[in-house]
Symmetry: C2
Subunit: 335 residues, 2 copies
DNA sequence: CGGGTGATTGCAACCGGTTGCAAGGGCCGC
DNA sequence: GCGGCCCTTGCAACCGGTTGCAATCACCCG
């Protein structure tokens, strides 16, 4: 059916090695042979079978891309950037949607069966052990949007979540909010735990501020909406730090549905600065996570590990910044 | 490095064929041999190399999934559902992000090199010829969210865009709007052209209604926002049919930013019924595209074609329905 | 013109599996 | 106890490539 190396070799009147070499960068082929082969190949419409090649070269250019959150629109940006970045380097993303099953073994086995060159885990909620399972299996892996630590067991690229929590706390404090809350992500997500810790630690310096945390079921609109409904029922606080922009938007909707205004009645500060935060109907004050940089670094890192697997794992922490928009009241004396 | 068939065979004291057969459904192996092999395999942590196997079986379980719009949050739902649906059937999605280059040859060659079993093109904007290139190359292909037609050259699963355009027109007419507009997608997208035609044809029955079409740069928030800005500048119409929910949301934001209320000053009806349309801050009246059904049917179809490639291509048209929310004024006499 | 050099080439083994075929083995009935 | 049948099993060829090695070739120099 498909045209093979042998077909080309026959047509060009050379050995299969010659053909193979024509398609292998840096192999020794004379100009004349190359011409004959290329002519035959293009007449036949030949292109080498990457999978067969991978058997001997031990390179598939396949990269497993694992994600577990398809409810958060930010992940479309994540996919867009990852797929583009990988493609630009000639790599192919093999997607694993982890929404259904989360045992590491399944994913490890599956990606092993496909001989992926490496794996990128793009999740801030998956446990560290999940990611480590790949390294244990000898598959190069990078944890993107993960939780950096000292002496990490796998490569991690992410942000200082505790620092970000503190940043949110400072921001709320500076605006004079006294009764504040943290609408956190799921309690099992390390990112949430760190943000909560940073938030609480910073607020400990501000004795007049009283804070409370409520965990959401997930990083999703529905979870944010439900959490804010519960808050409203219990009597809402003055302002909330939300563990993710999408939670903010859920909360924002719940507030508006309840006839409360933002930032008039309640202030909100989100996290991520996804594209929707900029939308006029949302206009969310938030803490920006440098997504593009994280993704670019993750891809660069996996490429580097694939090329030289014996590198010790590193943690890379990228800086976040406050993006002020319209969901918090202005700084006192600011107009 | 990795453990192979041969390692297992040696350890189990059997031939490689025996091992291969234990891992092949329906092959003839005695209970005793199978036990020995399974024991050895699990001790060694063996799992067969799918790529090597594919060389002889001619099946990779790889399905190319091509998309060209990562600006529209609806596509996260599309990815979620496609990846899950494929995984459920033991298939692996190989993503191609077409945002950068759109020559069919590149994608065809690339997917051919990876011996994908089939390809799903998930786009309502890519030209038909793009999809047909796969069939020409002998790769099973399904055009999902495409434009069904009589005697299609490739399998297509989609909706009746003209009918949907008409539905939008009827809806606006019934609510007594007189000066209406269509904020269309890109002029090159067949989906847009069909919707525009249906919209215009239906309005032709309503002589008192005056309509106009404005094409957007793409199915994105930014495009919708910009288009509505231009409309406002030119003096906005009473209501708009938007070629996509995301365009509606862009338009909605532009209207609110300009101090206009929806549906008080301007009415909006969208298209797709993506999840965000349900959000409180959006609450968009829209025409629902049966995404889940389209995706499920697309996957079922590609599986069927892969199993039996000689089927003539079919077009499948699924029904849409009006979802009434809060961005159009009520029907006259409706309260 | 012979020997030496480096570039080019083909052979054959190999990558990790599958599978047609024929031989071997167990079990049955007679 | 024997022949026959069917289930198991291993051999070896093959899937579509790559690559070490040795042979060949062209060319240069003395």
């Amino acid at each position: 059916m498909a045209v093979t190396l042998k077909d080309v070799a026959e047509r060009a009147g050379v050995s299969t090695s010659a053909v193979s070499r024509t398609f292998t960068e840096g192999a020794s082929v004379s100009h004349k042979t190359r011409e004959k082969v290329e002519k035959a190949a293009s007449e036949l419409g030949y292109s080498p079978n990457v999978l067969a090649r991978s058997l001997t070269t031990r390179r598939t250019s396949l990269i497993g891309l694992i994600a577990d959150n398809f409810q958060n629109p930010m992940f479309l940006e994540v996919f867009d950037q990852f797929t583009r970045s990988l493609q630009r380097r000639g790599l192919r993303p093999l997607i694993v949607n982890l929404s259904e099953a989360t045992e590491p073994e399944t994913s490890v086995t599956m990606l092993q069966q496909y001989s992926v060159d490496g794996v990128i885990v793009a999740s801030s909620t998956l446990p560290r052990t999940f990611v480590e399972a790949f390294r244990t299996a000898g598959i190069p892996v990078v944890h993107s949007v993960g939780r950096p630590s000292r002496a990490p067991k796998v490569d991690v690229i992410g942000i200082d979540n505790a620092r970000c929590g503190a940043m949110a706390a400072e921001t709320l404090a500076a605006r004079g909010y006294r009764r504040v809350g943290f609408l956190a992500g799921p309690q099992t997500a390390t990112s949430t735990v760190d943000r909560a810790r940073g938030f609480a630690n910073e607020l400990a310096h501000h004795h007049q501020i009283e804070a409370e945390t409520r965990f959401c079921d997930g990083y999703s609109y529905a979870a944010g909406y439900a959490a804010m409904r519960a808050e409203i029922k219990a009597g809402p606080r003055e302002a909330y730090f939300c563990g993710d922009d999408i939670i903010s938007i859920g909360a924002l909707s719940a507030l508006r549905d309840a006839g409360l205004s933002v930032p008039g009645d309640v202030g909100l500060i989100g996290f991520n600065d996804m594209e929707m935060a900029r939308w006029g109907v949302v206009d969310l004050t938030t803490i920006r996570q440098p997504l593009t940089e994280i993704i670019e670094a993750s891809v660069a890192r996996i490429v580097s590990i694939v090329a030289d697997p014996d590198q010790p794992p590193e943690a890379m922490t990228l800086p976040c910044e406050l993006i002020e928009r319209g969901t918090l009241r202005p700084l006192p004396g600011d107009g």
